[in-house]
């Protein structure tokens, strides 16, 4: 009787623990944050992809929101590039985004000199000019998250 009670209690505790842990684990069916639930600041940053929001999977929405949280820390020029690239980035298939992140991580880990050489070579061979979007394309936001008008 006593041993059975011990077993039942231990089993219950284990199941409870596992249940709580798994409920927090990444859930592929999680729809992610709804557009309406986002803060005005985040909405402003993610405005270029607002029309695609409903069709995005939950994990992509979460990642975009997480990226948008870092937007206020970027310079005006970087903010402009962020917003300009956002729609293209959001439309990339998941595998390509994953692939791009891996390449970017490797690229970013290179010394500055090597990065500059690579950039220059790439731009020369592809006839592309550096991403120098006009700063006016950015929605200026101070590090506190408030818009500077």
């Amino acid at each position: 009787m006593g041993k059975r009670l011990t077993l039942i209690l231990l089993l219950a505790a284990t199941l409870f623990g596992l249940g709580v842990s798994s409920s927090y684990a990444a859930n592929p069916t999680d729809p992610g944050p709804r557009w309406e639930s986002l803060s005005p600041e985040i909405k402003q940053v993610l405005a270029p992809v607002a029309s695609d929001w409903e069709s995005m999977p939950g994990f992509q929405r979460k990642r975009l929101v997480n990226a948008a949280k870092h937007y206020p820390k970027l310079s005006l020029e970087e903010q402009a590039r962020f917003r300009e690239q956002l729609p293209r980035w959001a439309k990339l298939p998941h595998e390509e985004r994953k692939d791009a992140r891996e390449t970017y991580k490797k690229y970013h880990s290179l010394p500055q000199e090597q990065r500059d050489q690579l950039k220059k070579r790439w731009q020369e061979e592809n006839g592309a000019s550096p991403q120098t979007s006009p700063a006016s394309a950015a929605v200026p936001m101070s590090p506190s998250g408030t818009t500077d008008h």
Binding site: T14, R81, Q85, L92, R101, T103, Y107
Partner: protein, 137 residues
């Protein structure tokens, strides 16, 4: 002579004799002990659990130093174990949650850096560019 002195004197004989008890008697003794314990209001008995050398069966016996063990009732011990298990799970859950939050923030930072990079994001999907990057490492 106190009870404890007496117990100390006979414990050796008792412990030896428990090794010679057959399984059925052992079971009966164990049942009687359990009944006696549940009938008693106070948990701190003078008995301790001793493991039978041949198996896992608990038998009556006296601890060598005569100290009281088994001060906690069976139910109390069960609840205590359940609480320990719950505490461990709560710790794991909290640790996972903190790690997950860190990961999400780092992932967000990576995406933000890439999106604001002076190279278009499409560059990082190009096989040629990937090859160059890998070749530079």
């Amino acid at each position: 002579m106190t009870e404890q002195d007496f117990a100390k004197k006979i414990r050796h004989h008792l412990n030896l004799s428990t090794k010679q008890i057959d399984g059925m008697t052992l079971q009966r003794l164990s049942d009687i002990r359990r009944q006696a314990l549940s009938a008693a209001a106070v948990a701190d008995r003078q008995f301790v659990m001793a493991q039978h050398p041949a198996g896992q069966q608990a038998v009556l016996g006296f601890h060598d130093n005569g100290n009281l063990e088994n001060g906690m009732s069976h139910l109390g011990r069960t609840v205590f174990i359940a609480l320990v298990v719950l505490t461990i799970f709560a710790g794991i859950f909290t640790w996972q949650r903190l790690n997950n939050d860190d990961d999400e923030s780092e992932q967000g930072l990576l995406d933000a850096k890439m999106l604001s990079s002076d190279l278009p994001v499409s560059t990082f999907t190009q096989p040629d560019f990937k090859e160059w990057v890998n070749g530079s490492r």
